[in-house]
């Protein structure tokens, strides 16, 4: 009966999203408890689904009792269970943060629940058009959340994201339309069969469909030439929203790219279309370098780590393009690990901003004396992002680079070596900007007077200036510990994801 959990995990948050608004007519602060209860349920459901998948194998649920390929099915396999678990945990952890630093309105919690439901939907659906709908639910609520503090600048950043994000989703829809024309079906598993039977991997319609889908996802993931919405959106959004969005929204799109590339078009499609693979690798390589270089040039903290996301997602997309078992394992590990790291980093920055008004690198001067735990966690997470072992950041990058070199060895091409070199260069860039943050935190040599600490007055938060609230601090430290702990879990990742990988590369 575990399969009933799949539709429930999507429907319950979406239905619960109406409650804060409806009950908000009578009661004031009703949003947080509703969101907390729903999200805790989501965590439980994710744990149950993950346990079932990793012990008993993948399972699916036919919505409304209509059998696929005509009906829509929800699928939990090794990959989607990992992303589902990440979504549930990060959503729950963000609630702890948002309770302290805001936003606290009922409308925020409604949008938050819709976003959670949409993200779970993206990770579980087994239908191409259904994926579009969930992507748009995620998109819409993200646009609303980014503008949640009602400032003009955040509205502009949000509108910019809306236009770019909608074009991305629409291009995905065009691609789905092309694939539908070529195969006559929308079910992911069925499409992967029908592409061979009714068309071929080199059919121009199928190729164009994949190109549209890939470009659409590139816009949503924020790869280099089309990343421009991301820094503004992350910087202007309220801190708690940035934490959630940076950890999950682009991650969901990158997950969808992996899913569509490997479960729908399959690795044989990549093998048959060298030109497409070359373009993917080229774009992701440029994205890795440009994102890292732009991050080094920033002095606004949120903007710096926003550009860092451009680079990290470049690595994940590169792993998709390399089409090697080890590289894809690295891509998935980095997908989950990067989500966790960005959650921790933005959570730490949000706490330092709420307590000490630190928004730029220079504001961090010697904060480690006043906030040792938050600074320590931030430093650990930053080093994990660089890829210092043992950490989940190292694990992901290691597998991707290893896969790149191995595929270069197998085919004798220089592209794989190039990707590995680019990842190494980006690691140095990452060290450059993380080291700046750590240097300011620990070695600025400024005597701080607790009396002059500035609170972030704009968002009306209740955090006491000059202190770090305990509950989010515990979450932050836990995130840092998990990021380090997962660095020892390389073998576990390999074992857990092996069924998925061997099926994809069968």
């Amino acid at each position: 009966m575990t399969d009933v959990l799949l539709p429930l995990s999507i429907a319950v948050p979406i239905v619960a999203a109406t409650l804060p608004l409806a009950l908000g007519l009578r009661y004031d602060e009703v949003g947080w408890p509703i969101a907390a209860v729903t999200t805790l349920g989501l965590v439980g459901s994710a744990a149950a689904v993950a346990f079932e998948v990793y012990t008993g194998g993948p399972f699916d649920h036919e919505l409304g009792g209509f059998a696929p390929p005509i009906g829509i099915e929800l699928v939990a396999d090794e990959l989607s269970a990992a992303v589902f678990l990440l979504v549930a945990l990060v959503s729950a952890a963000t609630l702890v943060l948002s309770r302290v630093i805001g936003p606290r309105g009922n409308a925020f919690h409604s949008a938050y629940l819709l976003l959670s439901g949409g993200l779970v939907g993206v990770s579980l659906t087994g239908d191409l058009f259904n994926l579009f709908v969930f992507l748009e639910i995620v998109g819409l609520t993200t646009y609303a959340l980014i503008a949640a503090d009602r400032s003009g600048a955040s509205a502009y950043a949000s509108l910019k994201y809306l236009v770019v994000g909608t074009v991305g989703a629409s291009l995905y829809l065009v691609g789905v339309g092309y694939v539908f024309l070529a195969t006559g079906t929308l079910n992911m598993a069925d499409v992967s069969v029908q592409i061979v039977e009714r068309a071929s991997y080199t059919d121009p319609l199928v190729q164009a469909g994949f190109a549209f889908i890939a470009v659409g996802f590139a816009l949503k993931i924020a790869l280099f030439p089309v990343h421009t919405w991301q820094p503004d959106a992350y910087q202007r959004a309220p801190d708690a929203v940035t934490t959630l969005v940076a950890a999950l929204v682009s991650t969901a799109s990158a997950y969808a790219l992996i899913r569509v590339t490997y479960s729908v078009f399959t690795v044989d499609f990549l093998a048959a279309n060298d030109a497409i693979v070359t373009v993917i690798l080229l774009v992701s390589g440029v994205s890795i370098l440009a994102g890292s270089a732009l991050a080094v040039m920033q002095s606004d903290l949120k903007r710096m780590f926003a550009y860092s996301s451009v680079a990290q997602f470049g690595m994940i997309v590169a792993a998709v393009g390399i089409a090697d078992e080890t590289a894809l394992l690295g891509g998935i590990v980095h997908l989950v690990g990067h989500g966790l790291l960005k959650f921790g980093l933005f959570c730490g920055l949000a706490l330092l901003a709420a307590g000490y008004g630190a928004r730029r690198v220079e504001d961090l001067a010697s904060l480690a004396r006043d906030a040792p735990f938050a600074s320590g966690a931030l430093a650990v997470l930053g080093l994990a992002l660089v890829g210092i072992p043992p950490s989940v950041g190292f694990l992901g990058k290691w597998y991707i680079a290893l896969g790149a070199v191995r595929s270069a060895g197998a085919t004798g091409g220089v592209v794989g070596v190039g990707i590995a070199a680019v990842i190494l260069a980006s690691t140095l860039f990452t060290l450059a900007y993380v080291a700046r943050v750590i240097e300011r935190l620990y070695f600025a040599g400024v005597e701080r007077d607790p009396g002059t600490a500035v609170a972030d007055g704009g968002s009306g938060d209740a955090a006491v200036p000059g202190t770090i609230p305990t509950a989010p601090l515990v979450v932050l430290v836990a995130a840092a510990l998990v990021a380090v702990g997962l660095g020892f879990a390389g073998a576990a990742f390999e074992t857990l994801l092996d069924p998925y990988l061997s099926e994809v590369f069968a």
Binding site: F129, L140, A155, L162, S170
Partner: protein, 156 residues
Amino acid sequence: MTAASTAIAAQSALDVLGTRHAYVVFALLLCIGLYMMIANPNLVKKVIGLNLFQTAIFLLFIASAYVDGGAIPIVPSGGGGGPYVSPLPHVLVLTAIVVGVSLTAVALALCIRIYDEYGTLRVDTLRELLREEGSLPAGPGLPGSEPGRDGGDRDD
């Protein structure tokens, strides 16, 4: 290229225009919508361009459902009575229209918010105001570097 092969190419181009005109209109609308989003400085007109872009995709789906001489897909009891046009793309477009309407609503709400705050909907004026306010960096985040690199938002 002989004159004959040119004539054949022209003939097949005419064939495409004659029999596949819906797809040609799809491509045209897509490009016009995209161009409006990029080139028009007015935010509301960008949103209209976005709508045009989405409408083009609706047209692609609807055109793909068309069957020559097909009837409305209401199957009489006992079956038979074909051919019918494909009902599935119609349902998909219905959903996509709902998504599009919600997006337009959010976009217009954001436009109203921006207009309330800055009193303009022109992107160029808006960007100047944001720079003065300090909400947009003048250069790539570092003072003194070349301007316009970091924002990179020429596309909207």
